[in-house]
Symmetry: C2
Subunit: 151 residues, 2 copies
DNA sequence: AGAATACATTTGCATGTGCGTATGTGTCTA
DNA sequence: TAGACACATACGCACATGCAAATGTATTCT
C-alpha cells in the first residue's frame, strides 16, 4: 500500500507532482541533483564544482529540501545532501529517468568530472580543505525508510 | 545521430531540459497532457473536461506549444492538439514516465473518465456539439518526423 | 457580406522566483 | 569564551508566471 500525503479533496498528490517539476525547473537545481546522483555530497563541493555563490547553492538546496527531493545530514561543521526518492513507484521512475537524462548531458558530465577531480586532489581546491568526501549511497530501492533529518 | 538545438556554448540542451520541467510545473498543463496522452484532442474538449475558462486553456496550450511538447493542427474551426515526443531518447523516456505517472493519479483518471463520457454522449455537452472527437495516435515511436504546424 | 463559432492574444494586476548582499546560526578550535 | 569556519536565512530588487476580463482572428454559415 502506498501512502499519499493526501487531503480531504484527494488532490494533494497532484500538488506533489507539479511541485516536483517546479523543483526540477531550474538549471542550478538540476546541476545539484546530477552531482547528488548515487552519492551523498557536502555543500562545499557543490560550491566548488558549480563555481556559484554559497548563498545561491544553499538557497537551491533549501528549495529541493522543501520539495522533499533531498534530505540533509549534519556532520560537524559540514552539511551533507542526498536525494530521497519519491514514495510511489511511478514518481520514483520519473525521477530516475530524469537522473539518467542528466547523466547523458555533456555539461552535466563535465560537472561530474570536475567533482571527481576535486575529490581526488582536494589539496588543489582551497575551499574544501579537510571536507569529508562524497560517499556512495546504497542502491536505495528503499522507499524513504530510515529517513534522516529532512528539515 | 541526434540533432540538438545547440548553440556555440553547447549548453542549449540544458536549457531544453529545465524548459521541459517548467512546462510540466503547472497543474493545468499536466491535466492537458494527461488528456492528450495517446490521442489528438480538440480544444473544446479540454474546456469541457477541465471546466476551466477558454483563455486559460488556450494560454496553457500555447505554453506547451512554445516548449515544443505539443503540436497543433487546424481542422476548420477546430484546433487539435497532440503531444510531440522529444527527439533524444532519454528525454522521451522522461516524458513517457511522466505520462504513466499521470495515468496512475486519481484526479487524472477522473479527467479521462469525464473525457470518455463527453465523447460517448456529446449531445449532453452543449459546448462540443459537432466537434470532432479525439483520435487515437500511432504508438509514436517516431522522433517527431512528419511534423505538422508547430506554431 | 454579416453574423456566429472556435480559439488566440493582449492587458492589467497579483504572486512567485532568482539573484546578490548582508546577516544570522551552529560547530569546532584555541 | 572568542574567533574562525561552514552553512542558512532575510532583504530588496528585477523579472517570469498565472489569472480574469476584454479584444482580436480565422473559419463557417446564411
Amino acid at each position: 500500500m502506498q501512502m499519499y500525503s493526501t487531503d480531504m479533496t484527494g488532490r494533494q498528490k497532484i500538488f506533489a507532482m507539479d511541485s516536483l517539476f517546479r523543483a526540477l525547473a531550474d538549471r542550478t537545481r538540476l546541476r545539484l541533483l546530477n552531482l547528488m546522483a548515487g552519492q551523498e555530497i557536502c555543500v562545499c563541493y557543490f560550491i566548488e564544482v558549480t563555481e556559484e555563490s554559497q548563498p545561491k547553492i544553499s538557497r537551491h538546496l533549501a528549495y529541493l529540501r522543501r520539495a522533499g527531493i533531498v534530505a540533509a545530514r549534519r556532520e560537524g561543521k559540514w552539511m551533507h545532501y542526498r536525494i530521497t526518492e519519491p514514495q510511489d513507484a511511478a514518481g520514483r521512475r520519473v525521477l530516475r529517468e530524469v537522473l539518467s537524462w542528466l547523466r547523458e548531458d555533456k555539461a552535466m558530465q563535465a560537472d561530474r568530472a570536475r567533482l571527481a577531480r576535486a575529490c581526488c586532489k582536494p589539496e588543489k581546491f582551497v575551499s574544501i580543505q579537510g571536507a569529508p568526501p562524497p560517499t556512495a549511497l546504497a542502491i536505495s530501492t528503499r522507499t524513504s525508510s530510515s529517513r534522516m533529518e529532512a528539515r
